[in-house]
C-alpha cells in the first residue's frame, strides 16, 4: 500500500494509527514505527550524535508514544509535531544527562551510510506543506537568526554552545534567537 502523499492525508493516517495505539492495537504501533521512525531517528541522532544514545532515545520515544497515545487528540495539534516533540525533548534530556559536547551539524558517517541505504520517501518531510505560512515567515529571518534557530532546534545546541560554535558573543546569540522568535510570531500572527 502506497503511503499518502499530502500532509493532510498523512496526518489523517497518523491520527488513525495513534487512535488504534490508544486502543492497544500493537499492529498500529508497528505501522506507525515503519512510517515515522526514520524521521524521529534523524531528529534524535542529530541532537545526540552518539549511536547508542540515539538508539536508546528512539526506544524511549516509541514507548512514550504507546503509553501516551490515548492523550493525543486532534485538539492537541498535528500528530507529527506531537511525536517530534516527544523525540526532541527526550533527546535534549539525554543530552543534559550525558553532558555531550556541542558539534556543528552533520550526522556521523555511519548514519550517512544508513541514510544512503534507506529507501525512504522522495520528499524527506512529506508532512510539511511548502504552502504553510511558516515557510514564508522563516524566509523573512536574517541569515544569522535562521542559522542560530537551526543550530538550536535541529542540533540541540544551547545558547552557550551556539556562541562557541559560531564564534559570537553569548549576548549577541541570545539576542539573535530572541529577535528571530519574535519576528516569527509577528509574521505568523499578522
Amino acid at each position: 500500500m502506497n503511503p499518502p502523499q499530502s500532509p493532510t492525508e498523512l496526518d489523517a493516517q497518523l491520527e488513525r494509527l495513534l487512535e488504534r495505539c490508544a486502543a492497544a492495537d500493537t499492529q498500529a504501533l508497528q505501522r506507525l514505527y515503519a512510517l515515522v521512525s526514520p524521521m524521529l531517528f534523524a531528529c534524535v541522532t542529530r541532537i545526540l550524535r552518539r549511536r547508542a544514545l540515539a538508539e536508546e532515545a528512539l526506544q524511549d520515544v516509541f514507548i512514550s508514544i504507546w503509553q501516551q497515545a490515548a492523550q493525543f487528540t486532534t485538539a492537541r495539534g498535528r500528530p507529527m509535531a506531537w511525536m517530534m516533540s516527544i523525540a526532541r525533548y527526550r533527546a535534549i534530556d539525554l543530552l543534559r544527562r550525558e553532558r555531550i559536547a556541542p558539534m556543528l551539524a552533520a550526522p556521523p558517517d555511519e548514519y550517512r551510510a544508513l541514510d544512503a541505504e534507506s529507501d525512504s520517501q522522495d520528499s524527506s518531510t512529506p508532512w510539511l506543506s511548502s504552502a504553510d505560512s511558516m515557510q514564508r515567515c522563516l524566509g523573512l529571518l536574517s541569515d544569522r537568526q535562521a542559522r542560530c534557530l537551526e543550530l538550536a532546534y535541529i542540533d540541540g545546541n544551547s545558547h552557550e554552545d551556539i556562541a562557541r560554535l559560531i564564534g559570537s558573543p553569548l549576548g549577541t546569540v541570545k539576542s539573535w534567537i530572541r529577535r528571530g522568535l519574535r519576528s516569527l510570531r509577528q509574521c505568523l500572527e499578522s
Binding site: 490515548a70 492537541r76 515557510q135 534557530l149
Partner: protein, 228 residues
C-alpha cells in the same frame, strides 16, 4: 487571568522551550507549568507545530533493524508463542489457569459499574448473529463479543465503523474472530458514536484499514439500539 505582559512572557518561554534553548532548572519548572496550565500548553503546541518546519531539510535515517524488536520486548508486545512452547506441560497448564483467573478478574473489574448505554447486533443475511456490541458509560468503553467463531478471509480482519450523520465513518477497531474484546474509546470515537444510529463492518487488511477509512467491502450494517 493572563495579562498582556504575562502573555508575552508565556509566549517567549514557550518558544524557547520548544526550540530547546530553555535549559536546566528553568526547563524543568516550565515543564511543570505547562502540565498544569492549559494556556501555556496551548502556546507550546503552537510553537511545536510551527518550529517543526525548521526540520524541513533533515534527511530521514532508517533505524537499525534491532530497535523494533527491542521496543517490543520493553513493551512485552512480542508473541508469547515461543515462550509457551518452551514451557513444560504442567507449568503451562498451571500458568494458563492463573492467567485466565487474573485476566477474568481484571476484565470484570475494568468494566464500568454502570449499565450498557447502547447495543447492536451484527447479523448475517440469514439472521444468524455474528457479533453482539455493547457500549458502556458515556461511550467510554465498547465491548464486542463474537456470537460464533467467524472465519476471516485470509490476511484480513473485520473492522467496525461508527457512521456519524453527515461525516465520514470513524473506526471503532477490529472485531474479534472469537471471544470478546473490550476497549476504551477515544474522544473522536465517542463523538462519532454519539452522532451515529448505525454501525458498519468492512473487510480490511490484517490490523485494520491503513487509511482511516474503509478500504474493503462493507459487508454488514447494524442499528444501534437501547440495551435490552
Amino acid at each position: 487571568m493572563t495579562t498582556p505582559d504575562n502573555h508575552e512572557l508565556i509566549d517567549r518561554l514557550a518558544s524557547e522551550y520548544v526550540l530547546g534553548t530553555l535549559r536546566g532548572l528553568a526547563r524543568r519548572r516550565f515543564e511543570r507549568w505547562r502540565a498544569n496550565t492549559p494556556h501555556v500548553d496551548q502556546r507550546c503546541r503552537f510553537w511545536e507545530e510551527r518550529l517543526m518546519h525548521l526540520a524541513k531539510d533533515l534527511e530521514p535515517v532508517q533505524p537499525p533493524a534491532h530497535i523494533w524488536p527491542a521496543i517490543q520486548r520493553r513493551l512485552h508486545l512480542a508473541t508469547r508463542q515461543s515462550a509457551l512452547r518452551r514451557m513444560r506441560p504442567f507449568a503451562l497448564a498451571a500458568s494458563i489457569l492463573l492467567a485466565l483467573g487474573v485476566a477474568a478478574l481484571f476484565y470484570w473489574r475494568s468494566l464500568p459499574a454502570n449499565h450498557a448505554t447502547a447495543a447492536a447486533t451484527i447479523a448475517a443475511k440469514s439472521g444468524e448473529h455474528l457479533w453482539e456490541l455493547q457500549v458502556f458509560g458515556q461511550a467510554d468503553r465498547l465491548v464486542a463479543r463474537a456470537a460464533k467463531l467467524t472465519a476471516r478471509p485470509a490476511g484480513s480482519d473485520y473492522e467496525l465503523w461508527a457512521l456519524p450523520k453527515g461525516a465520514a465513518p470513524v473506526s471503532l477497531g477490529v472485531l474479534p474472530a472469537a471471544g470478546a474484546s473490550s476497549r476504551a474509546l477515544s474522544l473522536r470515537q465517542k463523538q462519532a458514536l454519539a452522532l451515529s444510529s448505525q454501525v458498519a463492518v468492512s473487510i480490511e487488511p490484517l490490523g485494520g484499514s491503513p487509511t482511516g477509512q474503509p478500504t474493503g467491502a462493507v459487508i454488514y450494517i447494524a442499528q444501534l439500539r437501547a440495551p435490552s
